[in-house]
Symmetry: C2
C-alpha cells in the first residue's frame, strides 16, 4: 500500500462518522445477533434442523420460490445455479456481463471447476439491457443478470427491459438467473416486491451481508427440483457444513432489522449524490443513483485524491471513504453504499463535509 | 425414522449422562467461545486479517508445515489438496480406502467438480496398510491416508507402516496426503507430536470440530507454494468467505481447551471398550481402541438393539447412543467417540450401566 493510501485508511479509521455501510465489520456484529438467541437452540446438522430450515422457508416465501437453500457464499451458490441449468440443457455455456462477479472475482471457478464457458454480453461500461440479450447469437443454457450491477456503480436496467429479457428467455428455453447480491437494494426503485421481481427469474441468489449486513452467506432459490439439486452440489462443493447457524441466525437477525430500510438507504444515496455532483471536479455514476450505491469520480489522479480526502476527513471528522481506485491516468473513484451509518451523521457534520468538498482541492 | 429408532433418540435426549462427545451441538458452543472475545476485534476479510492469520500461523507451526489455510469444510480442503497434486503431476488419478469420506460422503464431488478418478486401496473391512501401497499397480498423483479410519471404528496402521508408505511415495514421486480429520486423536497411541507425524505427509487436513469440538471448519497445511495454490482454489470453490471468524475463533478457543486432553479421551475409550467386551452379545471394533473412538457391535438386529438400549438408557440415566445401524441381518452397531462428557459421568452411574448391559437382553 502506498503512503498516501495508508494515510487515507488511517484518517478514515480515526473519523467520527462514516458515509457508507452499517457498522464496522467486527466481532460485535456476531455478538449482537446472538445476544438474545437461546443457547439451548440446537445447531443445524448438514443442512437440516430448525435453525436453518426456518430461515430457508422464510426466504423461499419472501422470494416467491418453492425452495431456498442457504449457502456459505454467493460464489458457490451462483456457480451451482449455472451448473444445474447447463446440465439440464446439456450445454456448458452461459452468458453474463463482462464485469460479472464470476468473471472478475472468482479465479475462473466456473471454468476450472465446472467446465462452463461464458459469453460476455454488453460492454464493460454499461448496463446489460434487453438489446444485448435479443441480439445474442450464441446458444446458451442460462443468462445471469446482476441487479444492480455493482462494478458500474450499481446501475439497473428498466423493469420493462427485465420483462422483455424474461419473456425472450422463456421463449428460447434459456434459464434466467438473478445475481441478486443486492436485490433488496434494487426494489425501491422498481417499486416491486422481491416476489414480483423474482417471478421474472428461474433462479435467484441473494447475499445476506450486503444491504442486509449479516456476517457472511447467501441464499439460492428456485423451484423444488432446483433446490434439491442445489443441495447435492452444495455437498460436492464442500459447502454443506455441519453447522451454518453462525451465518444463518445472524442473517435472519439483520434481515428482520433492515429489510424495510432499503427505501431509506436509496433516498440517502440520491441526496448524497446530488451533493457530490455540486462539488467541483466530482461526479457520481450513475448521476442519480437507482439503489443505495454509486461511484464518486474525481478529476485527479489516485494519489492526489488520497491526500486531498485525507485532509478532508481530518478536517471534518466524516469518513468519506477508506480507499480510492485509479480510473485512467488523471481520474480516480471510490464506491459508496449507504446504510445505517449515513443517517447517524449530524446535519452539521455533513454540511461541513460538503462545504469543504465544495471548495475543491487547493493547489 | 422407525418407531424404535425414534424412541431410542428420545430416551437419549432425556438421559442425564452421555458416553460420547463433548457437549450438545447447540448455540451455546458459539456463545461460550465468544464470551471473552473483544467485540472490537475486526473480522477477517477474504482470508486476510489478524483473526484468521494468527490461527493459521499457529496451526502451521503445530503441524510443522510452512503454510496452513483455514477452510469452511474438510470436504473442500481435501478435494483441493488432491486437485493440486493431480495438476502438478498432470495425472488426474489418486488412491484411497474404499470407505474414505471422499468416496462415500461427498456425492462424488472429486469426480464431478475436479474430474479426478480414484483407485480404491485395501478392503472395506480393514485398515489401509503398507502392503496395499507397495502392491498398487496403478499410477497415481497422490495417496490419501485417513488416520484413524473412522468408518472401521477408528483403526490405525502401525507407525512403521506409515514410515514405509511415506518412503515409498517419496521414491515414486507420489504425494502423500493425510486425512487427519481426527489426527490429534491418533497421536497418543503413536506417541508422536503432530509435527512428527505430519513430517511423513506432503499435505495435511485437520478438522476443528471432531476431537477439538469447534463449530465447523478445517485446516489444510503444506509447503508455501501448496498453501498459495490452496487459497486460489478456495476462492474458486466459494470457500473464501468475507468472514470466517465465527469458525476460526471458536476453533482456536476449543483447540486450546482440548489439545492436551486427547490422551485422556483415548484412555477412556480403552477402558470403556474393555467393559463393553465383557457384556454378553457385545464386542468392540477394534477390540482395543487406538484412539478415542470405537464401534460397539451387538449380536441382535437393529430394531431389537434399539428397544433394548432404550430400556437400558431409561433404567440407568446414561445415554449410550442415540442411534443404531444394521450390520447384516442379525447384527447391529453404533459408534462411540469419547470426549469431555465421559469424564463427567459419576462412577456409580457407569457401574449401573455396565451391570445392566452385563445382564444381556432378556427374552
Amino acid at each position: 500500500m502506498s503512503e498516501s493510501a495508508a494515510k487515507l485508511r488511517e484518517a478514515f479509521k480515526q473519523s467520527a462518522y462514516r458515509l457508507a455501510g452499517h457498522s464496522e465489520r467486527t466481532v460485535q456484529v456476531l455478538k449482537e445477533a446472538f445476544r438474545d438467541v437461546d443457547g439451548e437452540l440446537e445447531s443445524d446438522m448438514y443442512g437440516s434442523g430448525e435453525a436453518i430450515e426456518r430461515f430457508e422457508a422464510k426466504m423461499a416465501a419472501f422470494l416467491g420460490k418453492e425452495a431456498a437453500v442457504f449457502f456459505p457464499s454467493g460464489t458457490m451458490a451462483q456457480q451451482i445455479a449455472l451448473r444445474i441449468w447447463c446440465d439440464r440443457k446439456g450445454l456448458k455455456r452461459v452468458a453474463y456481463h463482462p464485469l460479472s462477479h464470476l468473471e472478475i472475482h472468482e479465479e475462473d471457478g466456473l471454468k476450472k471447476l465446472h467446465g462452463i464457458e461464458a459469453v460476455l454480453l454488453s460492454d464493460r461500461d454499461r448496463v446489460l439491457g434487453a438489446a444485448d440479450v435479443l441480439d445474442m447469437r450464441e446458444e446458451v443454457s442460462s443468462i445471469l443478470l446482476e441487479l444492480p450491477q455493482r462494478e458500474i456503480g450499481g446501475q439497473l436496467p428498466s423493469y420493462e427491459e427485465l420483462e422483455t429479457i424474461s419473456s425472450h428467455c422463456k421463449e428460447r428455453g434459456i434459464k434466467l438467473h438473478l445475481d441478486g447480491a443486492r436485490l433488496l437494494e434494487s426494489l425501491p426503485y422498481y417499486g416491486r416486491t422481491a416476489e414480483e421481481a423474482c417471478r421474472l427469474f428461474d433462479s435467484v441468489y441473494l447475499s445476506v451481508y450486503k444491504g442486509i449486513g449479516g456476517i457472511a452467506g447467501a441464499v439460492l432459490a428456485g423451484d423444488a427440483s432446483f433446490g434439491a439439486e442445489a443441495k447435492v452440489w452444495k455437498r460436492r462443493h464442500g459447502g454443506d457444513l455441519i453447522s451454518l447457524y453462525p451465518y444463518v441466525l445472524s442473517a435472519d437477525y439483520y434481515f428482520e432489522r433492515r429489510k424495510d430500510s432499503m427505501g431509506r438507504y436509496y433516498e440517502g444515496a440520491v441526496r448524497l449524490a446530488e451533493r457530490f455532483n455540486r462539488c467541483p471536479g466530482m461526479s457520481t455514476r450513475p448521476e442519480t443513483p437507482v439503489t443505495n450505491m454509486f461511484h464518486v469520480h474525481l478529476s485527479m489522479p489516485k494519489e492526489a485524491a488520497e491526500s486531498w480526502l485525507t485532509d478532508v476527513i481530518r478536517g471534518t471528522g466524516v469518513g468519506v471513504t477508506h480507499y480510492v481506485r485509479a480510473a485512467g491516468e488523471n481520474r480516480s473513484y471510490f464506491e459508496l453504499a449507504v446504510g445505517d451509518r449515513y443517517g447517524a451523521i449530524p446535519t452539521a457534520a455533513l454540511d461541513r463535509l460538503f462545504e469543504r468538498l465544495g471548495e475543491g482541492k487547493r493547489a
